[in-house]
């Protein structure tokens, strides 16, 4: 394992396609309670090659201050490949995300990306299950748009603390089956979204999830009894505190069966069965 610990530059990794650029905020719209949709104008080439699950590291401070120092990683909620714009879903729970949510139309952002790998849909996949927890919904929405456009059948399972935290159904393509769960039962299934996932395991060709790490563990526990030798495969996006975002600092590693892997370069998307929990 140990000699395995140097991150190779993977295709889809930040090696080739990522870049530094200035994005311009074009709109801010409240959503899901205290969250904010921040739409950013970016070079068209960036938008065109973008795939769901990849993320951007954004400097979340004015240039004249050094605090907070590090960029913050944000994945993409929606992309407009023609106009060249990205929509980020920001939950303002800390300094960087709070700063993002306070932007005004016209503000410029110092952006690095796209970074990391992406969720991969296999060509043979007909039925796709997406599992989203809280703000983790962002890349799932982008994936739902892409899959629905390809005619893939999508079941979108979303969990939140309460009704306010849920994604409005109107945000998803009409063809998508949208099922929700809330911890307090204020809407949909009363309990964890991972319980809902059970009913879709046999139907699904692939499962993709994005949310906090505890959600992945509970998903694993909920569906593994039903899965047959690793089918359907499950892809999850791992959240880690990040510094460089390009595989240089080894600060964001995920321990996998094939050794230490970086969430920023080898990930953030990993095979559920590969990760050592």
């Amino acid at each position: 394992m140990a000699t395995d610990t140097v991150s190779p530059t993977l295709p889809g990794g930040s090696g080739g396609s990522s870049r530094l650029f200035v994005g311009q905020v074009e709109s801010l719209d409240p959503i899901m309670g205290d969250a904010m949709l921040v739409s950013v104008r970016v070079p068209r080439t960036v938008a065109q090659q973008l795939r769901p699950g990849r993320f951007f590291e954004i400097t979340c401070r004015h240039e004249t201050t050094f605090d907070p120092l590090l960029r913050r990683p944000f994945s993409v909620y929606r992309v407009d490949r023609e106009r060249g714009s990205l929509v980020f879903l920001i939950r303002p729970f800390g300094r960087g995300s709070g700063w993002m949510a306070r932007r005004k139309v016209g503000d410029e952002l110092d952006v690095l990306g796209p970074l990391g790998n992406a969720y991969e849909t296999s060509p043979t996949t007909r039925n796709l299950v997406l599992v989203a927890g809280g703000v983790g919904v962002a890349p799932m929405v982008m994936m739902a748009d892409e899959a629905a456009a390809k005619g893939v059948n999508v079941a979108f399972l979303m969990g939140a603390a309460n009704e306010r935290g849920l994604l409005p159904a109107a945000e998803l393509p009409s063809s998508v089956e949208y099922v929700v769960a809330t911890d307090d039962g204020s809407k949909g299934f009363h309990g964890f979204v991972t319980q809902l996932a059970r009913d879709y395991v046999l139907w699904a060709d692939q499962i993709m999830a994005c949310g906090p790490e505890p959600m992945y563990r509970s998903l694993r526990d909920a569906i593994n009894p039903i899965r047959l030798n690793g089918r359907p495969p499950v892809q999850v996006s791992m959240e880690r505190g990040m510094a460089c975002g390009v595989g240089a600092c080894l600060g964001c590693v995920v321990e996998t069966k094939r050794g230490m892997r970086t969430a920023c370069l080898d990930g953030p998307v990993f095979d559920l069965d590969e990760v050592l929990w």
């Binding site: 610990t5 090696g15 050094f66 120092l69 510094a243 600060g251 590693v253």
Partner: protein
């Protein structure tokens, strides 16, 4: 910088006493642990434009590093406890030296070990490799939990390591000092006497952050190394002290995020600088520094870097450093 003006001489030899030289096109070096193996940032900046880069710290055996979390942000800085995750010297030489030679990069290998013999062993292996411009000896591994007592805190121990590495290779040897030493000047003078071609400082300061919600240290390793703008004042003071007390070139680092920071280190007595955390913040930083330094020199009518190395030192020291710096281009 405007094309019609003569481009000033940014080149520097960081090993003037070594026939093999350590000549860089400019004094901007990417710091160890912050630039991987020279590949990770290739898509973002022209790595070949850097004066040089220093590899992640290499150890005798492969290491998978510390438990997560490994990094946490602090005011104007960050703590890291990576734990020297690396493929080990043998895994390393299989992959990178030839690659670097092919890529024509000026690469310095940072080595770290827990015994003098292991330092010498790694130096001997690197001595035979292509594509390596020099060795940086990391005598301070603040976040490795082995006994905790640090080579770099003790002048004699640091000198022993330096002597052993010096004997094992003819490559330029940079010794990277620990800010944890009680008197960094004594360590600097000891490693200079023991044959170091150059001295770099500072490595990270040992720090900590506590997760108030969980009521335990944030980092998996408990403590970590503090870096970034927060440490710049301490780094500058140590560079100023060391540059005033040794003749070999000094490489300054610690919190450099802009051209003014670079100039502060150079005026304190550094013949070159390294940038670490600053690269995470702005991957273009090394290029900005090179171009910005050249532009500043033209504006100020400074023809070669040597003219301002140690400019903030007392006159006596300045004269001496000046000679040393000129001697090194």
């Amino acid at each position: 910088m405007s094309a019609d003006l003569a481009v000033p001489d940014l080149s520097v030899d960081l090993a003037p006493n070594n026939p093999r030289e350590l000549r860089l096109a400019n004094p901007v070096i990417a710091a160890s642990g912050c630039f991987g193996y020279g590949q990770e940032y290739a898509g973002l900046i022209e790595v070949s434009r850097l004066g040089a880069f220093v590899s992640k710290g290499i150890t005798p055996e492969p290491r998978s590093g510390n438990a997560m979390p490994r990094i946490v942000e602090t005011p104007a800085g960050m703590l890291n406890a990576i734990g020297l995750q690396n493929p080990g010297i043998r895994g390393f030489v299989k992959k990178y030296p030839r690659l670097w030679e092919k890529q024509r990069l000026t690469a310095i290998v940072n080595i770290s070990a827990e015994t003098v013999d292991d330092f010498a062993m790694m130096a001997a292996i690197l001595d035979e490799q292509p594509g390596i411009a020099g060795i940086e000896v990391n005598v301070s591994c603040p976040n490795i939990n082995r006994g905790g007592y640090c080579f770099g805190w003790d002048p004699e121990m640091s000198a022993d390591v330096t002597r052993a590495v010096r004997a094992a290779t003819t490559l330029p040897v940079i010794v990277k000092l620990s800010p944890g030493a009680e008197d960094v000047v004594l360590v600097a003078q000891a490693v200079e006497a023991a044959g170091a071609d150059a001295i770099s400082l500072i490595n990270t300061l040992v720090g900590m952050a506590i997760d108030v919600r969980r009521r335990r240290p944030v980092l998996g390793n408990g403590t970590g190394g503090l870096s970034g703008p927060a440490v710049k004042p301490v780094a500058l003071r140590m560079v100023y002290q060391v540059a005033g007390a040794v003749q070999v070139p000094v490489i300054g680092l610690g919190g450099i995020l802009g051209v003014d920071d670079l100039l502060e280190f150079v005026m304190a007595g550094a013949s070159a600088v390294q940038v670490g955390t600053g690269i995470f913040v702005d991957p273009q930083l090394p290029i900005r520094l090179i171009d910005g330094l050249a532009a500043w020199m033209i504006k100020e009518g400074v023809g070669s870097l040597g003219e301002i190395v140690g400019a903030a030192q007392p006159a006596a020291v300045r004269a001496a450093r000046g000679r040393a710096a000129e001697g090194s281009g």
